[in-house]
Symmetry: C2
Subunit: 334 residues, 2 copies
DNA sequence: AAAATGAACTTAAACGTTTTAAAAGAGGGC
DNA sequence: GCCCTCTTTTAAAACGTTTAAGTTCATTTT
């Protein structure tokens, strides 16, 4: 059906090897024959068989990207930036979203072991599911490079980690709210690291944290909405809330507004991530920027280095991006 | 390095063929040997080489998904639903986003021709870029099945199209606004089909459309914001605007509010798509629902049918989904 | 003129599976 | 002992490349 090297070889009256060499631009083949072969290939509309090539080269020029879901601006942007980078190196990315299902991650790991990809990036599925770090370590030991992004690193020399300082992000958010005069801060979302950063800011200013002010749950936008409803229903409301991410923050705000609690007049809300929508929401959202695109690009760059056998600088084995407070309209001075 | 059929064969004292047969569950091999082989495979932690398998089976169990960008809730949801469906058939999806670049689409088409995928879905890159329908037709003629979603179909028997009735969606939006008493409607975004639907509603009610009320441009959220600013700056403002999609609508609203034009009190705004954020925005967005997930699932189902050689019902060759008006708070009766 | 060099091309192995056709072995019936 | 049949196993081709190791033949070197 499809035209192969052999077809070209016959038509050109040379051996299949010559054709291969010619099309790959080897300088061991005569210029004239090379051109002749190239012309014939063109005419026949030849395109090399990627499957055959993959077998002999032991490479599919494809990487796997494991994320919890695409329908989440943060991961979408991560995916985009990673795709953009690897694409520039003529690689492709297989989209592996797990929907926070541990078994799905497992299936993907097995697929990776089969050699369908040359490497993989595992993004942040940290807190909320059983991890397969042991299997992932096996994977890299079988020479399939892996890099983690925003996922708690196993301390393994062969698994580089690209992170943002989310501990500090939560700290910044809380610290800013306190500097505005807020005294009773709440936290929404499930992430040890962020919660700890949040706590450390309170501690620094000698504020204490009531249990009822911690909504430590696996939340999405709808979950944020429920938290907002719960807060609105309390007699003693917190005067500010730090959310694990912007989506949750938007959910919280929407619920508060719906229950006639004014944001930021009565309660200040801050998110983390700085997704595009944060700037377009109403009120626009005060948040802590996480440079997702840069992180994705860096992770991809590091993975490609590993795939091509380049050595990493020590810094690249644990690359941490700083976060930055972005002040908008969902917070105000008391 | 990695363990192969041969390794198992040696250890089991049988031929490589027997091992292959055994592991693939053939009933031509003795039960005892089968079990013995399976046990050894287990012990050695064997996993079949996907690259070799792909070569002989002429299948990679992978499809390509071509979309303009992932960072767009509509396409993210489409991607998610397609991934979910094909995953249930043990297939994977390669993420091919073009950033609206015609050449990128071209590169992907060539990659598809090389046999890296068993089929492909091309989503909606219709109006805003040079199309490669001719090359895509070649692709399917080379036996790589393709389905279009929300992309203007070439009239080719081998290219099924899954669509939503966006013409009608725009009609519904405009019709609803008119029923609320609005008389001077504007349109924002670049899509012939939607603009035509919009126009037909005006026509039906005998309203005419001034040129200045058509912001026919390739827009994203930021673009919507500019349009909102322009509208806010006009002395004679339209009293309602229909946007190509929800993102643009949100941009428009955000700008209007920033310029102290109240939505919906002074201007009603309606979107199309019904992304999740439409319900969480403030004001929540009146929009026309497009069942993206269902569309994605249907497209994937049809593609898988084509890949596995099943025949399609006539209906499946042109599958069109109805749209539905969703009334929220960004519109009001005059 | 023999030997050495080098350019241009070819042979054949390799990659790791699947799968077809053939071989080998085990019983059974005559 | 021979022929058949049936089960189990194996050899080998095929998939379409890449590439290391030849081979051929012309040209240069000594």
């Amino acid at each position: 059906m499809a035209v192969t090297l052999n077809d070209i070889a016959k038509k050109a009256g040379v051996s299949l090897a010559t054709v291969s060499l010619a099309l790959n631009g080897s300088n061991k083949v005569n210029k004239d024959t090379k051109n002749r072969i190239k012309k014939i290939a063109e005419e026949l509309n030849y395109v090399p068989n990627a499957r055959a090539r993959a077998l002999v080269k032991k490479s599919t020029k494809t990487i796997g990207l494991v994320i919890p879901e695409v329908v989440n601006p943060f991961f979408a942007e991560l995916a985009q930036s990673i795709k953009d980078y690897v694409r520039s190196q003529d690689f492709n990315v297989i989209l592996c979203s797990t929907d926070y299902q541990s078994e799905e991650e497992l299936r993907y790991i097995n697929m990776f072991r089969s050699g369908q990809v040359d490497g993989a990036i595992f993004a942040c599925v940290g807190d909320m599911m059983a991890q397969h770090n042991d299997l992932i370590i096996k994977l890299v030991e079988e020479n399939i490079p892996v890099v983690y992004v925003d996922r708690d690193g196993v301390d393994h020399d062969l698994i580089p980690v690209v992170k943002s300082d989310v501990y500090h992000a939560a700290y910044q958010a809380a610290d800013y709210l306190i500097s505005l005069g807020h005294k009773e801060l709440a936290f929404a979302g499930q992430s040890v690291e962020r919660l700890n950063g949040f706590k450390s800011a309170l501690m620094k200013h000698g504020l204490d944290l009531k249990d009822e002010n911690v909504y430590y749950d696996y939340l999405k936008m709808e979950g944020g909405y429920s938290v907002g409803e719960k807060i609105a229903a309390r007699k003693n409301k917190p005067d500010a809330v730090v959310c694990l991410n912007d989506e949750i923050a938007i959910g919280v705000i929407q619920a508060l507004i719906a229950k006639d609690v004014k944001v930021p007049e009565e309660i200040s809300v801050v998110g983390i991530d700085n997704i595009k929508m944060a700037n377009f929401y109403n009120p626009s959202l005060t948040t802590v920027n996480i440079p997702v695109s840069k992180m994705g690009e860096k992770a991809a760059e590091i993975l490609m280095k590993r795939i091509t056998g380049k050595t990493l600088s020590p810094k690249e084995k644990f690359f941490i991006f700083p976060t930055k407070l972005v002040i908008r309209d969902s917070t105000r001075k008391i």
